[in-house]
């Protein structure tokens, strides 16, 4: 069993099938890779985040206008596919894997990283065409969800161990005393980030207003 399978086993997926999980784990590892700066989107459980988004109201376009007639429209007119995000992920991953099988004789997740990048660039630019949905639309949705999963509160299933926040120095839930620090110009405010999940699970205490007290990081952290 590969690495990606181990990650997959850690969660009960609500929508994604195992081949889809493998595709996404592999794609996320290219979009935000683990590298010398630390773990990436796959390690941050962004695949699970996407799964959870797909079973949410957003994944079903619960708050979107969904009546026809359907026309392609101009780029300025925005999203015009009759498919929901659930359906887009399902058909686009299937069709992207069909492309990979034809082109390389293997599904996306077992291609070399160079081949994977080639495919991702092809989807992004629209050079690789998918049958049922615009490849550009799928790619932009995937990239958007990847960034969301890397930077949103871990209570949504991604940003595990606040990997995304630690990378950029974002403190998460704000503390009450920012005003004191704002006079200190050009001094980075470096703290252990606090998530809503931390507070929900009792790992971080809050004051009477509900704000956490941030723990400053030392120079070597």
């Amino acid at each position: 069993m590969g690495d990606s399978d181990n990650v997959a086993q850690a969660h009960a997926f609500g929508y994604l099938t195992q081949p889809e999980v493998r595709f996404l784990d592999a794609a996320l590892a290219r979009l935000i890779p683990a590298d010398e700066l630390g773990p990436g989107a796959k390690e941050a459980d962004v695949t699970y985040f996407i799964d959870q988004q797909l079973v949410s109201s957003w994944g079903n376009h619960g708050r979107n206008y969904r009546m026809g007639p359907w026309r392609e429209g101009t780029p300025q007119q925005g999203f015009q596919s009759p498919l929901t995000p659930q359906e887009i992920y399902r058909v686009a991953i299937r069709e992207a894997n069909i492309y990979c099988s034809k082109q390389y004789g293997k599904t996306f997740n077992v291609l070399t990283t160079e081949q994977q990048d080639e495919v991702l660039h092809g989807l992004e630019s629209g050079k690789i065409e998918l049958e049922s949905v615009s490849s550009k639309l799928f790619f932009s949705m995937l990239l958007r969800n990847t960034e969301e999963g890397f930077f949103s509160d871990p209570m949504y299933g991604g940003n595990r161990d606040k990997i995304g926040w630690k990378l950029i120095g974002f403190p998460g839930v704000a503390a009450f005393n920012y005003a004191e620090h704002m006079d200190k110009h050009n001094v980075p405010y470096r703290v252990e980030p606090v998530s809503i999940l931390d507070i929900q699970q009792g790992r971080v205490r809050v004051d009477a207003q509900g704000y956490p007290k941030h723990v400053m990081l030392s120079k070597k952290d």
Binding site: H61, P75, E124, P188
Partner: protein, 587 residues
């Protein structure tokens, strides 16, 4: 469907946002029986915006239920008349509210007055530059009201919303530290401005070196604990970020929920009905008088609420759509340039200059609504437009409103969109970048207008509003000119990398730009070119008033909320002092 007819009331107000809440309160104070119909749900600040849940960027920036639910109603959009308009299927360019308090719950808090010039752009341009300065298809026009007439109401609104700032012009005398270009104020702001941030000081220093006069952004985020004229207390802003697009967990920003509603709900002669979506203003047989409104309640029942006075105070789009659906005023026809309802739809041009530093950090997640530093030298007609080929301008500003990472992770030009290169740039620059906004005006044109869509319908089977809009030559020229000025300031701030982005050439409904949609039911002195008179009263149906940014004949560079609230104060005063004493046409 047979509708239930309720007992008549004196006044029905459609919408509980910035405009509607003030109209309700001012009318309720006179003892009239007032009903407010709000399409969205009731909010309870203690639960809806409790900490830590209020600090959830994915929810409030991306998926908020405070924003219009498009599954029931949206609008259609096209750039030009020769295209087929298609529905806006997901939220993008702007965020109309759908909750008690409306878009006023999630607004950003920058609280400007428009410049005196903004109210008379056409006549003042003709006077200063002659006829050639305005292109023939530009329909920008005077408001039919002047800054001086509105000044007392700007003052009233600023005191209601507890605006912090520094006056630049007190009764004609220029004040150091404020905006020297602003119209005269009758008194200081109710609250002092916020202390400038590190980013704001860098900007101010660079601007001063170029001869400009920077000043603090007027803001409705409280700079100290404040009690407003309705005796409501607001707490002090703690600069926690999570401000615009969010509901403040501290109740420290002026919104309908913090400044008006708790006092309004105490009036026994007032009733708020949430989840009540008005679909029509009912007129009498000769269409000269409104007899009430019809709305659909939370259970889907159609209900008729008779009233002597109808005030439309919903969002720009809905004000115009309700007029069109109800047959109030003549719909605009862009081909003949006749008719008024739907005329002069405008937006906001949003450009910017991104600066990237290697030797400075800004703690960009800190801050709050309207915490910023501005220069106004290129706003309105504050500079000589001779030979420039455009009218209007932009303010240039650095704001520290709390930059959260899903929305804001700027990278220098040339950075890959993903992969290790992207990751490295985001990690390095998330806290080392800032933006000079080029917040520009938007003129009105014959080809930019609102009407009813011939194809697409809402959940009730009623036609959606159709938006036909694109930025025009004046907007482009103005943006390029002002973005260039912003770039000069940017350069003087000493960044290691810089990117100049004037507003997008072709308007797109996809990326978020601003919830600053204007026009469609514009005010004016001439019934041939305006839907409502200077008192916001329909020219055609005198017991219907239409309040909101729908009344703006074109947009100023400054954000609209201050003027929306001011128009509500002005209209309410006209109603109280004039209309209620002698109902009928005020002009």
């Amino acid at each position: 469907m047979a509708s239930t007819k309720l007992k008549a009331v004196d006044a029905v107000v459609v919408g509980s946002g910035v405009a509607g809440s003030i109209a309700c309160k001012e009318l309720a104070e006179t003892g009239l029986q007032v009903v407010c119909l709000e399409r969205g749900r009731m909010l309870d600040a203690n639960h809806d915006f409790a900490m830590p849940y209020a600090h959830d960027e994915l929810k409030f920036w991306r998926h908020s239920d405070l924003i219009q639910n498009l599954s029931r109603e949206t609008l259609t959009f096209r750039n030009a008349m020769n295209e087929t308009a298609l529905p806006m299927r997901e939220i993008g360019s702007f965020k109309p509210g759908e909750c008690v308090g409306g878009a006023g719950v999630h607004w950003g808090g920058q609280t400007y007055r428009f410049l005196p010039w903004d109210f008379e752009p056409r006549s003042r341009t003709l006077e200063r530059y002659g006829k050639g300065q305005i292109s023939e298809d530009c329909t920008s026009q005077d408001w039919g009201i002047t800054y001086d007439e509105l000044e007392p109401y700007y003052d009233q609104f600023e005191h209601l919303y507890g605006v912090g700032g520094k006056a630049g012009n007190l009764n004609g005398e220029i004040q150091p530290g404020g905006n020297p270009f602003e119209g005269p104020r009758s008194r200081e702001f109710p609250n002092p401005p916020k202390e400038p941030t590190f980013a704001g000081l860098l900007f101010a220093k660079a601007a001063e070196s170029l001869g400009y006069k920077p000043f603090p952004t007027p803001s409705s985020a409280m700079t100290r604990p404040y009690t407003n004229p309705y005796r409501l207390m607001l707490s002090q802003c703690v600069n926690g970020g999570y401000c615009g697009h969010f509901a403040c967990a501290m109740g420290a920003r002026g919104t309908p929920l913090t400044t008006v509603l708790p006092a309004l709900l105490k009036h026994k002669n007032f009733e708020l009905r949430p989840l009540s979506n008005v679909i029509k203003v009912n007129l009498d047989s000769d269409k000269k008088r409104a007899v009430g409104v019809t709305y659909v309640d939370a259970r889907g029942r159609e209900i008729e609420q008779p009233a002597d006075l109808v005030i439309l105070a919903s969002y720009t789009f809905n004000n115009t759509r309700l007029m069109l659906l109800s047959g109030i005023g003549k719909p605009y026809d862009p081909v003949s340039n006749q008719g008024v309802v739907g005329r002069n739809y405008s937006y906001q041009t949003m450009g910017g200059v991104s600066l990237f530093f290697d030797d400075k950090v800004f703690n960009r997640f800190m801050g709050g609504g309207g915490l910023g530093t501005i220069v106004d030298e290129y706003n309105g007609d504050n500079f000589d437009h001779t030979g420039l080929g455009f009218i209007g301008g932009a303010f240039l500003a650095v704001h520290s409103a709390g930059n959260l990472p899903i929305r804001s992770h700027p990278v220098p030009p040339g950075t890959p969109h993903w992969g290790s290169g992207w990751k490295k740039a985001v990690a390095h620059y998330y806290n080392r970048a800032l933006l000079i906004s080029v917040h520009g005006a938007c003129q009105s044109y014959r080809s930019n207008y609102l009407d009813l869509d011939p194809t697409y319908r809402d959940a009730h089977g009623l036609p959606l509003l159709r938006v036909t809009f694109d930025f025009q030559e004046n907007d482009h020229k103005m943006q390029i000119y002002t973005a260039d000025k912003a770039a000069e300031i940017g350069k003087a701030m000493g960044p290691s990398k810089m990117k100049v982005s004037p507003a997008i050439e072709k308007y797109s409904i996809v990326p978020y730009q601003s919830t600053h949609n204007n026009g469609g039911a514009v005010m004016g002195a001439d019934p041939a070119t305006s839907a409502v008179n200077k008192y916001l009263q329909s020219w055609d149906v005198s017991n219907v008033f239409v309040i909101g940014a729908s009344a703006f004949p074109q947009n100023s560079a400054n954000s609209p909320t201050g003027t929306v609230g001011t128009l509500a104060c002005w209209a309410a005063d006209s109603l109280k002092d004039n209309y209620l004493k002698r109902p009928g046409a005020l002009v």
